[in-house]
């Protein structure tokens, strides 16, 4: 509802003199005020003290939050090293920008395997739904935010995202605490299935 008593109020502004000389004086005053030199002085002082707070990127990188959502990674099972992805297709289904696509087949071990897995990073909005819906913690957002390359597709194939087997063997695959990860007290909250025999 509009308040009928409300009125427009005219703000009193300082009257500027529009005479050419007054204008010139105003410009000079604003340009050569001391603040400029104050700032330059601080820079100079920090420079000669060698106590700079700037991060020397790309030589030096800031740690990012575990919940940061950068380029996806496909993880392996901790013990066997097999791919975690079971090809259930939930990430493909939930993806709101429809940029995930997978192809599955019947493996020789009788299980479902993914033959191909791609994410079109030209369309991905890094919402994190895929990582959240994944029942196997297979697709996660990794910490890799540097995406410059000749082509966006360079990050989007299965072989780009899957932990390489040699990296895995070195034990360098990191469990991801971010989106979709079990909460720290997950063990306590799990109910046992009723197989009380």
């Amino acid at each position: 509802m509009v308040n009928s008593k409300a009125k427009y109020v005219e703000v009193e502004l300082e009257k500027y003199s529009l005479k050419p000389f007054d204008r010139f004086k105003r410009v000079m005053k604003r340009t050569f005020k001391g603040e400029l030199f104050v700032g330059l002085g601080i820079v100079f002082r920090e420079m000669v003290r060698f106590n700079i707070h700037t991060t020397q990127y790309p030589g030096e990188k800031l740690p990012i939050s575990p919940r940061y959502r950068a380029i996806h990674e496909l993880l392996r099972l901790l013990e066997s090293g097999n791919e975690r992805c079971i090809g259930c297709g939930l990430c493909e289904k939930i993806c709101i920008s429809k940029c995930i696509r997978m192809d599955t087949h019947l493996g020789e071990d009788g299980r479902k395997h993914i033959s191909e897995y791609t994410i079109n990073f030209g369309r991905c909005i890094f919402c994190g739904y895929c990582a959240e819906v994944c029942p196997e913690l297979a697709i996660v957002h990794g910490p890799r935010y540097e995406n410059s390359s000749e082509q966006r597709a360079h990050f989007g194939l299965k072989e780009d995202m899957l932990t390489p087997i040699d990296v895995f063997k070195k034990g360098a695959q990191k469990e991801y605490p971010g989106f979709g990860a079990p909460s720290p007290d997950a063990d306590k909250r799990i109910k046992k299935t009723p197989l009380a025999y």
Binding site: G87, G89, D103, T104, Y117, T118
Partner: protein, 769 residues
């Protein structure tokens, strides 16, 4: 008063209450049927409308006022005035408990299960809000089985018995059974470890969970990703309603260019192996090369004949007819030609423009005779209809043929000699018509028939005929199914007339099985010629210039799963089919346009299908293409059937040709109809061996496993010979689906051929491979 309750169809109607609403039901209808029909919902698991109630799941229980017990609605008939409750707290808990039992140890692998998304157990578990489980049982080791095209995972099986009942009541293979053993019960092939059946895959379709799956489809796609395209199966004249389910192929291309599977409205209808698994016969041509088109036009300008088969749509047939009218081509399609001749003779005798039977009539009839067709191979779905009439309605089935078929289990098999179709039909006409009041000339004709002589000539026993006649007396809705052995017989004219008179003067309906998918349509639309000219365009057939949907001709054509159009089915119904896959090349209409027959699209011709043949002026986009939720086929429209003048011109029964020496029956196995099914990935391994009995092998002087050359007329094929212990008699069976394009080289369309069989050297076979 009682009369007033009778409705027009002669059924007593009774009324009862469902959840307080007054509902009408036919007498004998079950509570479930009547309630569902009136829009009430009763949950079910094992119930399938096409089967007798299985009543294994007990989910469909309802309460009836005045009764303490819960009643199974699927098998309890409606009683006047009862008050049924379909949902209450008690029912909900009861159903919940049943589902909990189903869920005991059901593997939590929905994530990968093929059925996930269309799983009845998944749906019901969510519907009844099951979030906890109190029951438990010690899990056992259960092995996943692979039976050819069908895979079975016993730990997913809920033992609803749908598959077993379908296999028995509908398909007739009766190939699987329940191995009972309490908690370790499972489905197993009947009588052996390996599944020996026609692999129609109907058990896969009816399985409510992911226990029975198609091994060709296993784990390649989730059901919700697939887009269903309603279409008509293009393999046989029955024209079943199917859905092609398509999705992109691979991850880098978004176009839906691969068919992943075929599904159907399995609650009411069934598919055969070819329909379910023979779907990927498309032509992957993607580009148009205008120089190729101009070469094709040149060929058309030069040609005087177009030879084609009946695996085309009505619209394409009409384009060919228009080309004929414009440029005077001769249209050659021998199987449609003989079918047209047969049909016109039949309708001249019967006085109706078409035969009157349909596949639905077969399901409803109580006395079925089949003659001149190896029915499970020619039109498997008609075979299923016969079987369900037999099993569900107690129909009598007499199978008349030269070769016994152990898959059919007829009530009576009547064997006749090769070439004796005319005598057999005459004997049937005699049996059916002799006591009826018919017109005098026919009466005279029948009286003149020397049945004793005909029977001995055709090798039919008179006692068999008499027993048929006796059984027929108590039957009210008989049907006679006639197959292609009759149309191609050299006395086809007279056979057709005899059939026509049977149809006219008795309560028999006659159902002809057209030879291939659109034989009926082609015979109605095209003005076919008998003799070919000098320069032949072959459309999916042999010719000097070849148009081919297989991609091996001079110009590519779209396959039938890449085309829009209509087929004319066995039921005299015009049904639409839709393009499941993209096609980038030229089609027949492009050539027609070049030859100045100007219609923008092929489907523009649907509107002008010839009205004099019974088609209606309905455009393609106006055609309905769905099966309704209660199972009524609403696709397309029925041809208009007209009355005709009848002529009496029966001839004397001719003596039969002697078929001495080695005779083969040219017939394809159930799984194979044509070059299209032969191209399908899942059906590729089907054997195309020459098969025969022990007796045949002695007559032909060949042994099991021999590589032989079979020659007749200009036709010669080389095949491996296999002794099939299930076959009897001296006639071998020769499949030609792998060599279809040259069928016109056969001396005649008659499926029995005298052949010469010689052993061919094996080295050559290796070379050919």
């Amino acid at each position: 008063m009682h009369e007033m309750l009778l409705h027009s169809d002669g059924c007593d109607m009774i009324s009862f209450y469902v959840d307080g609403n007054l509902v009408e039901a036919k007498k004998g209808q079950t509570i479930l049927e009547a309630a569902t029909k009136s829009g009430h919902y009763i949950p079910t698991m094992c119930y399938l409308p096409k089967l007798e109630p299985i009543s294994s799941c007990r989910i469909c229980v309802v309460e009836i006022e005045g009764s303490d017990e819960l009643i199974l609605s699927c098998q309890t008939p409606v009683v006047e005035g009862i008050k049924v409750t379909t949902d209450s707290k008690k029912l909900f808990e009861y159903r919940q408990n049943i589902l909990k039992l189903y869920d005991v140890n059901h593997p939590l692998e929905c994530g990968v299960c093929d059925k996930s998304g269309e799983c009845l157990l998944q749906n019901r578990t969510l519907e009844f809000e099951l979030d906890r489980q109190e029951f438990s049982a010690k899990e056992e080791k259960r092995e996943i089985k692979r039976w050819g095209l069908i895979g079975y995972d016993p730990s997913l099986c809920i033992l609803c018995e749908r598959c077993v009942h379908t296999c028995n009541e509908i398909i007739g293979d009766d190939a699987i059974e329940i191995a009972t053993g309490g908690y370790s019960s499972h489905i197993k092939p009947k009588g052996s470890d390996e599944l020996d059946c026609s692999f129609c895959g109907e058990c896969i379709a009816v399985c409510p969970v992911g226990a029975l799956v198609s091994t060709g489809f296993k784990y390649i796609s989730n059901s919700w990703e697939l887009r269903k395209i309603p279409a008509t199966c293009s393999h046989c004249p029955v024209g079943c309603a199917i859905y092609y389910e398509v999705k992109h192929d691979g991850t880098l291309d978004a176009s839906e260019k691969r068919i992943y599977r075929v599904s159907n409205d399995f609650e009411y209808n069934s598919l055969c192996i070819a329909g379910r698994f023979g779907f990927d016969f498309e032509n992957s041509e993607t580009t148009k090369d205008s120089s190729e088109l101009s070469r094709a036009v040149e060929a058309f300008l030069k040609a005087d004949t177009i030879r084609f088969n009946s695996f085309i749509t009505n619209e394409e047939a009409l384009i060919l007819q228009k080309l004929k009218e414009k440029r005077g081509y001769k249209l050659i399609n021998s199987e449609a030609y003989i079918f047209r001749e047969f049909l016109s003779e039949l309708s001249m005798a019967s006085g109706v423009s078409f035969y009157t039977g349909s596949v639905e009539d077969v399901k409803r009839s109580d006395f079925i005779l089949s003659i001149g067709s190896r029915i499970y191979d020619d039109a498997p779905v008609v075979g299923y209809a016969i079987n369900s009439a037999k099993k569900l309605k107690g129909a009598y089935f007499g199978y008349l043929h030269t070769i016994e078929d152990n898959r059919i289990h007829p009530s009576k098999f009547v064997k006749y000699e090769v070439g004796a179709e005319e005598g057999a039909i005459a004997a049937l006409a005699y049996v059916i018509l002799k006591d009826k009041i018919v017109d005098n000339r026919l009466q005279e004709y029948l009286d003149d028939l020397d049945i004793g002589y005909i029977c001995s000539e055709s090798n039919i026993s008179e006692e068999e005929l008499e027993s048929l006649a006796k059984i027929l007396k108590s039957k009210s809705s008989p049907i006679l199914i006639a197959g292609s052995d009759l149309y191609s017989h050299k006395r086809a004219e007279n056979i057709a007339r005899l059939l026509g008179f049977i149809e006219k003067h008795s309560n028999f309906k006659v159902l002809l099985i057209p030879t291939s998918t659109n034989t009926l349509g082609v015979s109605l639309i095209c003005d076919l010629d008998k003799e070919a000219g000098d320069y032949v365009i072959g459309y999916n057939d042999i010719g000097d210039y070849r148009l081919s949907s297989l991609g091996d001709g001079d110009l590519d054509m779209p396959a039938l799963n890449q085309q829009e159009g209509t087929f004319t089915t066995i039921d005299k119904r015009v049904v639409p089919t839709n393009a499941a896959l993209p096609y980038g090349g030229y089609e027949l209409n492009d050539i027609a346009k070049e030859l100045e027959i100007a219609r923008e699209n092929t489907i523009d011709y649907t509107l002008s299908l010839p009205r004099k043949s019974g088609y209606r002026s309905v455009g393609f986009d106006e055609l309905d293409d769905e099966i309704s939720k209660d199972g009524v086929d609403r696709r397309g429209y029925n041809l208009v059937i007209e009355e005709k003048d009848t002529h009496f011109n029966l001839q004397k029964i001719a003596d039969i040709d002697e078929y001495n020496g080695v005779v083969v029956y040219v017939s394809n196995p159930t799984s194979q109809f044509s070059y299209m099914t032969n191209r399908a990935r899942l059906l590729k391994d089907q054997s195309s061996d020459l098969e025969g009995s022990e007796q045949f092998s002695i007559a032909a002087k060949i042994e099991d496993g021999d590589y032989v050359s079979i020659s007749f007329g200009q036709y010669e094929v080389k095949k491996v010979f296999k002794i099939n212990p299930k076959l009897k008699g001296v006639v071998g069976i020769l499949p030609i689906f792998d060599n279809m394009l040259s069928t016109y080289l056969l001396p005649s369309q008659y499926k029995y051929q005298k052949v010469e069989i010689k052993k061919a050297s094996l080295e050559k076979k290796v070379e050919e491979n």
